[in-house]
Structure formats: C-alpha cells, structure tokens
C-alpha cells in the first residue's frame, strides 16, 4: 500500500528512463543521501567513521568498479588490488611532486593512469574468457605489487618502503594527512562515492552499459549486431580500473594514512570480488550492499561476543570471519546468484501489495 506506484503515470520516455522511476524510491534515496551527508557527521564518533563508514565508502567505490567489469561486462578480474595500488602510488607520486595541485584532481589523474594500466592488462580478454582471464588478471595483481615493492622510485626512496599521505588542503580544509579529521575525510569520500556511483548508473543504463551486457550475455550475437568486442571490453577495463584506482588512492589518503604494497595484496582483490558476488553481480546498489556487508561482518563479529559477555581470541574471530564469508558465498552462488540486490527487488515487489497476500 505504501509502496503502491498506481497513479504515477509516465508521459514521456524521459520519465520512463529515469534512474528511480517510482516516486517512493526517489524520496527514499534522497533521504538516505541527506542522512549520510548531514545526520551521520553530527552523530558518528571517530571510531565509527574510521573503522566502519570510511572503509565502507571506499570499498563501495572499488566494488562498483569491479562490478562494471565483472557484473556488467562479464570479464572476471582478480587484479582489483593491483589497480587500486596504481591509484594509490600514483597519487603519492603526483602529490609529492606537485604539492600545490588539488588533491582531488590528483585522485582523478591517478585514476586515469590506473585506467591505462587496466587497458594493458585487459588486452588478453579478446582471446580468453572466464577462469583463464581471471588468471591473466592475476598477473596484473602480482606484477604491480612486485613493481611497487621493487622500484624504490615509486615510494620516493623512503627507507621504510611505505607511502604516507602528506597533509593537503582543499579550499582551506585539511583533507588528508594526520591533521585531517575523520569527519572531513568521511565527507570527501562520501561526495566522491555519490558522484561516481551516479556516473556508473548513467553509464550502465545507456548505450555503453547495454553493449557491456550484450558482450556478457552472448558475445557472438553482440558482434553480429555491430558491437565490437575489443573496444567494448577495453572500455570496461579502463573505466573499472579508473574506479579502482580512485578507490585505492582514497584508501591511503582518506583512510589508512600510510601503507605499503601489502595493503593491496591478493586478499583485497578477493574481498572486492566477494562484495560483488554477495551484493549482486550487475547491480550498482548491490555493490554498495556487498561492501556494507563485508565491512560490517568483521566489526559485528568483534563486538558481538563482548556484548553477550563472551571473550574471544582475535585469531579465533578471524577464523570465524573466514568461515562466515565462505558460507555466505557458497549460499549466494547456489541460492541467489544475484545477491542482496535481488533480495531488495523481491522485497520491493512484496511491498507493492503489502499488506495483502496477492
């Protein structure tokens, strides 16, 4: 009843093609964005922002990036961590070389460099598919990590081998570095995520998204109606790597503060892949839900035993975390390959008739 869309007539194709064609959805999303921008910074404390919300935003962006490539274009990739590292290290190099350059612009530039790297490692996708492509992208992961470890130029010959976010201001507000408050970093990350999520949604509902999905669903038919596989796949690799690169830069500069290549190892690639599998392949909303789930569960597992008065070893918690993730992934792959996003759709369908059974 509440969610009934009856009476909302669409009189133009423009209305029909809107991202949220149903008015209730629009209000809900608007409310969520308002809460995220206004209420959360007022309420949340340092711990919640730093441990939960900022990583959620950053991984959401990376998950959207991988979802464009894997969920929409159907190209399985395990190079996410590598592409994120490119973004982070390039941001570090550019911002230390040109300290006066706006750090947000530097994020974008680094994203573009990551996109170029993504194109190079996407070239094998013309010939190989599925698991074999995943192995080929694994090469990107290992090679990039090795490169940033081996060549001291990338971390400015720092003896510790780490990169550290230097203090940078945007419009007089400290955004990165030790003096930047968690609230500011949260707001910057949130703004970037909202912008890029909107752009991703626009891409996937237009020509480009349709050609990606066409290649994913049936590449031969796509070719025959004139979609050229190589440019289409490479564009997917480029845009996906751009998103991952920006997410990687945000990870160091808005969240961790300093890190070495270990922060971008194969586990990160897997983690982001789990996010989109659990959240929903081929769904922008699913990327967010998956990222929320994967960042929330460890926090929950750490806090839950304490709440009921049980003490648990950290190592045990880690193991339980792996078991829960493993079980969830098996569950989703078997029962609901479309992940949380599909659950959300089913809920919406049920809501339309609620409280009547049918």
């Amino acid at each position: 009843m509440i969610y009934l869309e009856a009476g909302q007539y669409k009189t133009t194709y423009e209305d029909d093609q809107a991202i949220f064609p149903i008015a209730q959805d629009r209000y809900l999303v608007l409310a969520a964005v308002l809460v995220a921008f206004v209420a959360v910074p007022l309420v949340a404390n340092e711990y919640w922002l730093q441990a939960l919300l900022i990583p959620f935003l950053i991984f959401s962006l990376a998950a959207i990036g991988l979802n464009l490539l894997t969920g929409y274009a159907g190209q399985l990739s395990l190079g996410t961590g590598g592409f994120m590292a490119v973004g982070a290290y390039m941001t570090y190099k550019i911002t230390t070389a040109f300290p006066e350059l706006n750090i947000l612009l530097v994020f974008i530039f680094s994203g573009l460099i990551a996109a170029a790297v993504g194109i190079v490692f996407g070239l094998p996708s013309l010939r190989i598919k599925g698991f074999y492509l995943a192995v080929a992208t694994l090469a990107a992961q290992f090679f990039i990590q090795w490169l940033f470890n081996k060549v001291a130029w990338f971390y400015n010959y720092n003896p510790s081998g780490t990169i550290t976010a230097p203090p940078r201001e945007v419009f007089g507000v400290m955004v990165t570095g030790p003096e930047a408050t968690a609230t500011v970093r949260y707001l910057v990350a949130l703004s970037l995520l909202v912008l890029f999520a909107l752009a991703a949604k626009n891409l996937v509902r237009g020509r480009i998204g349709r050609s990606w999905m066409a290649i994913r669903d049936m590449d031969i038919a796509a070719e025959i109606i004139g979609i050229r596989p190589l440019p289409t796949k490479l564009l997917a690799f480029a845009i996906s790597s751009f998103y991952c690169g920006v997410a990687g830069a945000m990870m160091i500069f808005l969240w961790l503060g300093s890190a070495e290549t270990l922060a971008f190892d194969i586990n990160v690639s897997f983690q982001v892949l789990f996010m989109i599998i659990i959240g929903g392949l081929g769904s922008i909303l699913g990327s967010l839900l998956g990222a929320a789930f994967i960042t929330l569960v460890p926090i929950f597992l750490i806090n839950a035993p304490a709440l009921v008065g049980v003490h648990m070893e950290v190592a045990l918690e880690r193991h339980i975390e792996s078991i829960v993730f493993g079980a969830m992934i098996v569950y989703f792959l078997i029962v609901e390959p479309n992940g949380f996003a599909r659950f959300w759709q089913i809920t919406k369908q049920k809501l339309r008739r609620w409280p009547f059974p049918y």
Partner: protein, 260 residues
C-alpha cells in the same frame, strides 16, 4: 541489375567453404534482388546456416566473393556487415538473457548512437537527447511487432515464441536493408507461425527490407517467398519461384521426397 530487371542488393559468387575435411559449401552462387523475399531450403547439414554466416561475415569462405550494395568483399567482417545494414536472427535464439526486452532491442540501435562515454556518464544534453530519440524509433518497432506488454520483462522469462519475436524486433531496430532469418518459425505452433509469417511479410512490405530466410516448413516457404534456393550437400541444386522449385525433380529427390 539482374535478368529480371530488378536492382541486385546482394550477389554471392562461387562461394566455397570448408571446415577441415568437411565441405560445407561448394561453388554456390546466387543473387538477391532488392526488396525480395528469398528462401533457402535444404536437408539438415546442407549448408544453409553456413551460407548466412558467410553473408554476414561470421565465416570467411576459402574462395568466392560476396558483393553487397555493389561492393565486393573477399572477407566481410561482422561489424562491417552490421554497419552496412545486414541484420540477422539465429536458429537458436541469441538474445541477451539478462537484459529486458527493451534493452535488447535498444542494442540494435547501438551502431547509430554516437555520444561518447563522458556525456553518457553525466546523462545530460546530447546523451539524454540521443537516448530518447532512439527510444522513439524502438517504440515504433515494438508497436509494429505488437510486443508492448513485455517491454520491461527480462527476455529470459519470456516464452519461446515471444523470444523469437523479440529477436526479430532487435534485428529490425537497426533499420537493416538485408535481413537474414535463420529458421524464424522453428518450434512454433500454428498460430505463432501465422503471426510470424504476417510480420515477415509486413516488414518486407512496410520497411522495404530484403529478406533471406531459412525455413523447413514447406507450406510457409511456398507461401511467403518470392524465390527459393535449394541447397544439398553444400551445392545449389535449384533456384527459382516456389512453383518451379516444387516441380524440380532434383529437389523432389533430395528433399521434398517422393510420394509413394
């Protein structure tokens, strides 16, 4: 121009295609006049689908040329064929299962869309205008094939006959000059076949599209085609109007069968 005084759209000349030791097509030649409905028939494995695959560049023949709109191609490439207005449907439906009917049909407009990805990411100005302009044409085709009701349904959930119709719709959305239909009526019941026949004739009539189709239902073939070509073991054994072909002894022996 061909012997009938009609303009030739497609000319297939001396095509030979083999896969290893298997001779799929040998020295096949024929031409298709603009605006005609041509049927290719023949027993299973006669090389009918291979012929369509050669025409739209999916297979590259060992010898022979395909002349389309006056230009000869030793090897046509699939995306070139699509860009020059050759569209096709498949024997086993080749729709994009995860996408809605509307999105499937919109992919048929892909080649006509120009706006780059930056505009699309913003979804402003040119990108929005282009999307709506092409949506308008797609809706025209949707109306034409009477599938308004299933616009927003993922094609994987549609019944078989409907999927065939959506596939035809997708091919039509690209405004083809030449439409290749590979068994458009396979597996359909009588009503669906009748609908499909009507659509094919309407398309030919209204859009002026030249149609080459493969079909096993002789009743359908004889009713809707202007000309029939018969293939057997990769060779062309007959070429003519339905009546001529029906009377041809070689065709009767190879395909239509003898009445005992």
């Amino acid at each position: 121009m061909n012997s009938n005084g009609k303009e030739t759209l497609l000319q297939v000349d001396d095509i030979t295609l083999s896969f290893g030791g298997v001779q799929a097509l040998s020295h096949v030649s024929f031409d298709v006049a603009k605006g005609e409905v041509l049927a290719i028939i023949g027993p299973n494995g006669a090389g009918k689908s291979s012929m369509l695959n050669v025409i739209n560049g999916f297979y590259h023949p060992q010898s022979g040329t395909v002349t389309y709109k006056g230009r000869s191609h030793r090897q046509m490439r699939t995306h070139e064929a699509a860009a020059e207005g050759i569209a096709r449907t498949f024997q086993n439906i080749a729709l994009f299962k995860g996408m809605t009917t509307l999105d499937n049909i919109m992919t048929g407009r892909n080649l006509k869309m120009r706006v780059n990805f930056l505009w699309q990411a913003l979804h402003l100005g040119p990108a929005r205008r282009e999307e709506i302009e092409h949506r308008r044409y797609v809706e025209h085709v949707i109306d034409f094939l009477e599938i308004q009701a299933i616009r927003k349904i993922p094609v994987g959930r549609l019944p078989y006959g409907m999927q065939k119709r959506v596939e035809l719709c997708r091919a039509l959305a690209s405004e083809p000059d030449l439409l290749l239909l590979d068994e458009p009526m396979a597996g359909m019941n009588v009503e669906e076949k009748e609908d499909m026949c009507r659509f094919i004739l309407d398309v030919n009539d209204e859009f002026g599209t030249t149609i080459v189709l493969i079909e096993h239902d002789m009743g359908v073939v004889m009713d809707i085609s202007d000309r029939v070509i018969v293939l057997d073991y990769g060779r062309k054994i007959a070429d003519g109007t339905p009546d001529e072909v029906r009377a041809n002894q070689a065709v009767i022996d190879a395909y239509l069968g003898l009445s005992h």
